[in-house]
């Protein structure tokens, strides 16, 4: 894969942008002209070449810049990375999964040599080389989850399975759409999804939980989630809401194309072997609307989806303040023509 890593920012001057190739491969989440919650889980099997689903873990042109942003977040707020004491085995399971995936999928960038428990990891883009003993935390500079989490795009949480529930007992969360790891650590699946409106009544979470409790090693699943963000800001945490919340008021009819972003989360779920825990990845993709509408089908579909949203979802996804201005801007890209089913560009 010919990856050229960009040098861009997700804060302050917001120089982030997508190359044409990144736009084409963007995981547009809407397969029809409206949206409602569903248990839209599918097997996480290799997808089309070049797509974000090709490999178990997707590394793209934003890798180096995203990891730099993560490092800044963690420096400012170490509580974005926490693990309860009983989750150490799960942390090692996660490290194994990510290192083996990244090395197998992107051999030009990552190398993993293993001699029994003696592992040798090389990360060329981030210029990291580490020899360590798998299972011995004293041979790594930080905990296993943090060590590999700082080198992999996406947020990760580790769920301990017990008593017919999944408990979020560890995580490294710096690109979240507005929830707090520090507050939610220790909650179960039903509880941490507590604030999501409407979905509980539709029993979406009840069914998803039953499914995930039976998730088996070697059979990961994935789904897409979405929201909108003003500016390509990765750190839209509640911790910093008082700093970024006012971004929502800065949208004008002229700047919608550059300021308003569709934010899609590719979520992966893996059963981990030694700990029997579930690894939950939340991989964030951003696209400004000016880039999105270069795909005509998406330019037609997005306004139709936004029109279809019930008020609770508009409010929960934080879109209220700029929805009308955004719809106004998008209207010139929707000529009313029918759109093909499915998410891919025509």
């Amino acid at each position: 894969m010919n990856l050229v890593f960009k040098n861009e920012t997700f804060r302050d001057d917001f120089t982030f942008s997508n190359s044409p190739a990144a736009i084409r491969r963007f995981p547009f989440p809407f397969h029809e002209d409206k949206y409602m919650y569903s248990v839209n889980i599918e097997p996480h099997v290799p997808g089309p070449k070049g797509s974000p689903f090709e490999f178990p873990i997707d590394i793209d042109e934003h890798y180096v810049s995203e990891m730099a942003d993560r490092a800044k977040v963690l420096e400012q707020d170490p509580k974005r990375c926490q693990a309860l004491p009983h989750m150490m085995t799960a942390q090692w399971d996660m490290l194994e999964l990510l290192m083996t995936s990244m090395a197998a999928s992107y051999p030009e960038h990552f190398t993993l040599n293993r001699d029994g428990d003696r592992w040798h990891w090389i990360n060329r883009p981030l210029k990291i080389e580490q020899k360590f003993v798998f299972g011995d935390a004293s041979t790594l500079p930080v905990g296993p989850m943090e060590f590999i989490g700082r080198q992999c795009q996406g947020d990760f949480s580790l769920q301990d399975q017990r008593d017919n529930q999944l408990w979020m007992d560890a995580g490294i969360i710096t690109t979240q759409a507005d929830w707090s790891l520090d507050f939610d650590v220790g909650m179960n699946f039903t509880e941490w999804h507590g604030p999501v409106p409407l979905a509980h009544q539709a029993r979406v979470f009840e069914r998803a939980l039953k499914f995930l409790l039976n998730l088996q090693n070697g059979h990961p699943v994935r789904r897409l989630n979405w929201t909108m963000t003003i500016n390509p800001r990765l750190d839209t945490s509640p911790e910093n809401f008082h700093k970024w919340g006012s971004d929502r008021m800065t949208v004008t009819p002229e700047n919608v194309g550059d300021k308003v972003h569709l934010r899609v989360e590719l979520q992966g779920l893996w059963r981990l072997p030694r700990s029997n825990a579930v690894l939950f990845s939340i991989r964030c993709y951003l696209i400004k609307l000016r880039e999105l509408v270069t795909v005509p089908k998406w330019g037609r579909r997005l306004p139709r989806v936004l029109q279809s949203l019930p008020p609770e979802l508009i409010d929960y996804k934080g879109i209220t303040r700029y929805r009308d201005t955004t719809l106004e801007w998008l209207s010139k890209y929707d000529d009313g023509a029918p759109t093909s089913p499915g998410t891919l560009p025509d």
């Binding site: 097997p43 009983h86 989750m87 085995t89 301990d160 399975q161 017990r162 008593d163 039953k210 409790l213 039976n214 088996q216 090693n217 070697g218 059979h219 072997p273 030694r274 700990s275 029997n276």
Partner: protein, 321 residues
């Protein structure tokens, strides 16, 4: 079979460890390492007799989770065997090939416990073997109390004492030893969890004793691999496949389907996990729910059935399969 895939393995070692108990060790036929697993896991072994008879039995993995070169299981020839354990004892030898699922865990360590009290009876020792590897590696505080009928039927006693020393306590029925459960239950620090595996009667006794000693349900765990409850034979009609299957008195619906080459989703085969939930479209008699999964409402509703353990009293059942 469910989305849990199977792999072909070859038996490399068979050892009679005690009267009526044999240990089997097997490796992947391709020579590849097997998946590592968590303590308390089991695999479902598919056995095919030359006459076409099919058995699928769960067996706990006994070895160390850190050693993925082979898997070890132990099979006790059951007094009331439906054929599976007899088959393993009589027909499986070094060189035999079997299909096994990837490890599944329905009996795992409570990782937040301060202490683990393991109560094993007979062949029920097997899930604790892998659990103790994991507990010992984590320097966890645990004790094993292992009840066997006699030395000759007490598998692994010497090995266990050698490996885990004073954390292992064995009790022989033939020598009149009683497992002092009452005393044990009253002498544990708060935050101790109890795990029991063995004959159903022992499990019931341990769980009831635990509750009677003021232990909350959350701290009491058990696993039991039992054969599905038998009943009278009946016909199953599959609405979507448009065929009819006979379910024998000793067979579960799931087993009857598998015997006929149909592989509906399933996992635990014990009525606990929900994977085999199937819609009932029509029936001529009452459903006999033997599972622990459906709610009371769902059981009364008569529209759902767990095909791995439940039956009907009537003579015909139509399923959405």
């Amino acid at each position: 079979m469910t989305s849990s895939s199977t792999r072909r393995v070859r038996v490399v070692e068979v050892e009679p460890v005690a009267d009526r108990i044999k240990r089997f060790r097997f490796v992947d036929v391709s020579g590849e390492k097997l998946p590592t697993f968590s303590g308390g896991s089991h695999v479902v072994v598919t056995m095919r007799a030359p006459d076409g008879h099919l058995w699928r039995n769960p067996y706990s993995l006994m070895g160390s989770p850190a050693d993925a070169s082979s898997y070890q299981i132990s099979v006790c020839r059951a007094d009331d065997s439906r054929g599976g354990s007899d088959y393993m004892h009589d027909n499986v030898r070094v060189g035999s090939e079997l299909d096994v699922t990837n490890p599944i865990n329905l009996f795992s360590i409570a990782r937040k416990a301060r202490k683990h009290l393991l109560i094993a009876g007979g062949i029920g020792i097997t899930p604790f073997m892998s659990m103790m590897h994991e507990l010992a590696a984590a320097n966890a505080n645990f004790e094993l109390h292992y009840k066997v009928r006699s030395q000759t039927r007490g598998a692994f006693c010497n090995d266990l004492v050698r490996q885990y020393g004073s954390r292992v306590h064995t009790y022989r029925s033939d020598a009149g030893h009683a497992l002092p459960l009452g005393t044990l239950l009253r002498d544990q620090p708060v935050g101790t969890h109890l795990y029991v595996c063995g004959p159903q009667a022992m499990i019931d006794w341990a769980l009831e004793s635990g509750r009677a000693a003021g232990w909350p349900h959350e701290n009491l765990h058990s696993e039991h691999f039992s054969a599905p409850r038998p009943g009278s034979p009946f016909t199953v009609k599959l609405a979507r496949s448009e065929c009819e299957i006979q379910v024998g008195p000793q067979q579960s619906i799931l087993e009857a389907l598998e015997q006929n080459g149909i592989d509906p989703p399933s996992l635990c085969r014990g009525g606990a996990c929900g994977q085999c939930e199937t819609r009932v479209l029509a029936r001529t008699g009452a459903l006999q729910h033997n599972d622990h999964y459906l709610t009371e409402e769902e059981k009364l509703g008569g529209e759902k059935i767990m095909i791995c353990v439940s039956r009907t009293a009537g003579n015909c059942l139509t399923l959405d399969l």
